[in-house]
């Protein structure tokens, strides 16, 4: 299997006002693989994740230099349609954030705003997305019940289903299991294994074991810089940089 680069990041710098949050980031994110971003709090990994679907646009004084190429299209160029970008690069947040609507409406929300009105089509997308997020069997009898009544783990998988419904290529996950119990966490980790067959996944995690379990590649961030990126096995068995080793062996962070 040939490793194709899905997202290529070229000397990316990000500033919040005078503060430089990301320093000269270079990275290749490989298609249909799970890439984990690890590092201590405040090292810029979440900020970096949010540059990949331009969620940082929401922050008033954030400024970006450099290039992020998604299938060779610079997502910060004028040619890039923000709506299309966010449709093809989905995001799952740290805290499950289903809308205060029914389970069905949550999943149908994305397709609806992108213009799908037919009920039968929506039904089909909802079922497919919920199945994709391994949630269908648990909620198929309560599609019209409020999503906020689901358990935390179910809510997070619902958020994943909500992303899948707009048919993205890439899934960005910002510590998706940090608010969940171990069993829900395990379910989501199993799900990632399934999802990477069809999607490219980038996951921020604080949990070293999780990075080891789920990811193919790992990037270690420190103070806004990438210290090293490698196959996850290499990072954990023979890190090249002393700082990486210190971090993964729990000496700081």
């Amino acid at each position: 299997m040939v490793n194709r680069t899905k997202i290529k990041v070229n000397s990316l710098n990000l500033f919040y006002g005078d503060f430089q949050a990301l320093i000269d980031i270079n990275m290749d994110i490989i298609e249909n693989k799970v890439t984990a971003l690890i590092g201590p709090s405040g090292c810029g990994k979440s900020t970096f994740l949010r540059t990949l679907n331009r969620m940082n646009d929401l922050i008033v004084n954030a400024r970006i230099e450099g290039k992020v190429l998604l299938d060779e299209l610079d997502i910060y160029s004028e040619k890039c349609d923000l709506i299309q970008l966010r449709k093809s690069v989905g995001m799952v947040f740290q805290k499950p954030n289903p809308f205060p609507k029914t389970v069905y409406e949550n999943v149908a929300y994305g397709p609806r705003i992108h213009g799908i009105k037919e009920k039968s089509k929506l039904d089909e997308i909802v079922e497919k997305s919920l199945r994709g997020a391994a949630l269908w069997d648990e909620v198929k009898d309560r599609l019209n019940r409020p999503a906020l009544g689901l358990s935390g783990g179910q809510q997070q998988r619902l958020c994943i289903a909500r992303c899948l419904a707009v048919e993205p290529d890439v899934l960005l996950m910002d510590e998706p299991t940090s608010a969940l119990d171990p069993i829900s966490t395990l379910k989501i980790e199993d799900l990632l294994e399934e999802l990477k067959k069809n999607y490219t996944i980038v996951i921020v995690t604080h949990n070293m074991q999780q990075a080891g379990r789920v990811s193919d590649y790992t990037s270690f961030f420190l103070n806004g810089e990438i210290i090293e990126t490698d196959l996850t096995d290499n990072i954990f068995s023979k890190p090249r940089d002393k700082r990486t080793e210190d971090y993964i062996t729990g000496r700081f962070g």
Binding site: M91, N97, P100, I113, H114, R162
Partner: protein, 294 residues
């Protein structure tokens, strides 16, 4: 041993003193709280006791005759509903849209601070001033005469600040994560506001709206100056009308009929109580919802 015993007794005495003080204060604040309830119940009770016996179904469906001494208050109920409806139809879109601008779009700058300050000032202006302005501007200058339109516009200005503030507060309680979730799916800002933010704050907006209605229904001075005090059944928005509060004021101040005064007061009080209960239910529902979310 004895000394130790003494000191113990002294402490207990001190404690008792503190205890009595605490209890006195407790009793005082308890009484104050109770007083509010007593005040409310005695007003409603007094009105109901004097008014309920004068209310027959005819009172609701008959039109008043001989200046309100005889007959019912049909045209007045219609006038009240009509005027209230017009005022909220005018105020709601402006209030909600203004609140959306202030919370979702405006950056914290001087203009926004001035708008906020203006809203608060507007809420604090005595209603008679609104009445005077409405009279000079809508009734005379724009030539709307004494009419439901003039009255509705005046009342709309009066309830606008309440509505805008309530909507603003309720938009602010919508978690940022909802907005992010929607935007991350490729929704535009406007779609996000219309399909996620507003629906999540609907009960808060309704609560503000109902409080506004309460203010409109209870208003006397401003309404008399702008909608007039005609007893006839209003047939169009350009007709003058009399609301229950105005009717009550005129009946009482001109000593026309004690019976009808209390009967009208009863209907008005029931009206206001129903509106407030409704607001309460909505507010509770709203609070429950935010609790689940947090």
């Amino acid at each position: 041993m004895v000394e130790m015993g003494m000191s113990k007794i002294i402490t207990t005495n001190k404690k008792m003193k503190i205890n009595i003080k605490e209890k006195l204060w407790y009793f005082f604040i308890y009484l104050s709280a109770l007083f509010t309830l007593i005040a409310l119940l005695s007003i409603i009770g007094y009105i109901l006791m004097n008014g309920a016996k004068h209310i027959h179904w005819e009172f609701f469906v008959k039109e008043p005759s001989s200046m309100g001494r005889e007959g019912g208050i049909f045209s007045i109920i219609v006038g009240t509903l009509y005027l209230t409806l017009v005022s909220i139809v005018i105020a709601t879109p402006i209030g909600v849209a203004g609140a959306i601008y202030l919370t979702e779009y405006a950056k914290e700058n001087r203009l926004v601070r001035i708008i906020r300050f203006g809203t608060e000032t507007l809420a604090g202006i005595p209603s008679i001033i609104f009445g005077l302005f409405g009279f000079v501007f809508f009734v005379v200058f724009l030539g709307f005469r004494w009419s439901i339109l003039s009255g509705g516009l005046t009342l709309a200005m009066m309830i606008l600040p309440t509505l805008l503030r309530a909507t603003e507060e309720s938009l602010k309680t919508v978690p940022q994560s909802y907005r992010e979730g929607s935007l991350a799916l490729g929704a535009t800002k406007w779609q996000t506001i219309m399909k996620v933010v507003l629906p999540s704050s609907v009960s808060g907006i309704l609560t503000g709206l109902i409080l506004g209605i309460g203010r409109a229904v209870g208003e006397t001075a401003a309404v008399m100056l702008t909608a007039g005090s005609s007893l006839g059944l209003p047939k169009s928005i350009m007709d003058p009308a009399r609301t229950m509060s105005v009717h009550l004021y005129l009946l009482a101040s001109e000593g026309l009929s004690k019976e009808k005064t209390f009967a009208t007061a009863t209907v008005l009080v029931i009206f206001v109580v129903i509106i407030n209960c409704f607001a309460n239910i909505l507010a509770n529902k709203y609070m429950k919802k935010t609790k689940v979310e947090s």
